[in-house]
Subunit: 343 residues, 2 copies
């Protein structure tokens, strides 16, 4: 009944506010923008008038006039279903809101030349800055931006040189995950890595190796296996690694960890009593519910950081890493036969 098909009433303007307050529109503008040179009493009348009329600045006019429209463009490289784009969006959104900006979300998937189209859309709307977020960390080829709109890449990096980027410190995350198992006393650690060759996979495994080296534990190469980041592959790999006597499993992500837990259950092993499992990602609504120890990826932090940095106006280093921290949960304890607390 309401809402659609109704005549669109025109909103009150600064002139209207001024008229009601008995001053000019410009005076009202000064008051509402907090500029000096207006008598306190007049200012009060203007504010009251604005409140009474329900005045809202027309942002199109404001943008036209001041060449800043308070909009940050967010380009999503993939359908926002997975934690990376969703988390980045949530963080960017929170920060934008805190800074009085809005977030115009667009995407670069589906069509060929998606990034170009997305940039066209955003630049046509004169956004104040652009954040690009993709799902799996990777290189992206972006169109050149001629007008100097600030750009920042989240979870991806430019092909050669280009806009600055912010990435999760995956190597640090892999290191921290491995350290968590090592600190609990595990020595036979099986790695259920993700897709071989992907940046995140490589870095996480490198972090694992560094932690092992630092702990003076030799890596059994037969226990470093690659999968596809899906539950089924975690289950398959875990079956094999458990048969090899692994007491701790380092999984490429939380879904593989759930697969591993399934394999453990099927093998009659209890978690964490017989086998400890580390996930990765801290996938919302999944890892916590499953009581899965994991590594939190800083997607929200990156989103917040991106917006804050872009609006800060200062030049940024080409690459920034945000840390990935262990989230301790019940799926990790000391291995069987080792008393707990020997960290």
């Amino acid at each position: 009944m309401e809402g659609s098909g109704q005549i669109r009433r025109s909103r009150p303007t600064l002139q209207d506010v001024g008229r009601l307050a008995g001053v000019s529109g410009a005076a009202a503008s000064y008051v509402l923008n907090g500029r000096p040179g207006v008598a306190p009493d007049t200012a009060r009348r203007v504010r009251e008038a604005a409140a009474e009329l329900g005045y809202r600045p027309n942002s199109a006019a404001r943008a036209l006039r001041s060449d800043r429209n308070g909009i940050i463009g967010l380009v999503l490289g993939e359908v926002p279903r997975t934690p990376p784009p969703v988390g980045t969006m949530a963080g960017a959104h929170a920060e934008a809101q805190a800074l009085g900006q809005s977030l115009l979300v667009t995407n670069a998937y589906g069509t060929r030349g998606g990034f170009r189209l997305a940039f066209d859309e955003l630049l046509g709307r004169q956004v104040d800055a652009i954040v690009v977020a993709v799902s799996g960390t990777r290189r992206v080829a972006l169109p050149e931006v001629r007008d100097g709109t600030p750009i920042l890449l989240v979870n991806c990096f430019p092909v050669v040189s280009g806009p600055p980027c912010v990435l999760p410190d995956e190597q640090g995350g892999g290191h921290a995950a491995a350290r968590n198992l090592l600190d609990h006393g595990h020595r036979r650690i099986g790695v259920l890595a993700g897709v071989r060759g992907m940046w995140a996979t490589t870095e996480r495994v490198a972090g694992f190796r560094r932690a092992m080296r630092e702990a003076g534990v030799e890596v059994d190469e037969g226990m470093v296996r690659y999968g596809d980041y899906r539950l089924g592959s975690g289950r398959t790999l875990a079956r094999d690694l458990l048969a090899k006597g692994a007491t701790g499993l380092l999984c490429g992500n939380d879904r593989m960890a759930l697969g591993a837990r399934l394999a453990a259950a099927e093998a009659g092993l209890r978690v964490p009593h017989d086998v400890s499992i580390m996930g990765y990602d801290d996938e919302p609504e999944l890892a916590a519910e499953a009581g899965l120890a994991t590594v939190r990826l800083p997607y929200e932090d990156m989103g917040r950081w991106a917006v804050r940095s872009l609006l800060g106006g200062e030049p940024l280093p080409p690459r920034t890493l945000l840390s990935c921290d262990v989230v301790a949960r019940g799926s990790v304890s000391a291995p069987p036969g080792i008393p707990p607390g020997r960290a």
Copy 2:
């Protein structure tokens, strides 16, 4: 190096395009907006000039002039982590893009009076329409909108009367899920419902009861249990229902279904050989990977439908239901002892 801290060059305007093409800015406007009354040769020159200068219409000016800015506001009731807001956003986005509109995403969570703030932001930006999407189907109290901006609620409904809304046909979904088990020959069906009292829960259970009634199977009230939509509760309830001899489990969502599958594995039962499990939601990256038969919730459809309907300009019925269809996967087969194919 590029991207931030750079001087923002001014963009070419219609005047610039016109000047380069040897006509006035107005003529250029006519050409680029595809209006008649311009000689083909002139039109070609204008288009070439626009391309050469890399002209982009200034949408702020356009919005100011024509009071339509090509932006649709999306208000999210919750952090977009769960399928409802994410799917709605994806659908709304796809449709908006197809219609040449942009999507301004804002949210109503976190702060008190979130919906009011969100609406203020969107109305201040003169969005052409507003879509409100929440996570769990529920009533929402929205601020009154005075200027006639079209509004549509997705997955929620107004407190008394208000904007039109679109909802998943949950009762139909519950009915379809039950039918799927019944058609496979199951008679001892356990229901692991979600949170008691929630609209979706109630409707789904009602659909189940209707399907049972239609099939002439009496409902064993001890086998209709309520949980909390989380994995753990699915596991707990399933243990109990399996002990009661259920051959088919109808779960409140996919996560409860995974919990149920865990319980089945722990009880030494094979899925689907010993027990069939129906999820609900078709949660992306979860149900498909787990091979879980489920019911697809039409979030994307609702998002698309919302945008299309809002821009259609025609009045909408107060409530529209979009259907929830069964997604057949390997977790459902005939119960033990019953030959398959007696549907």
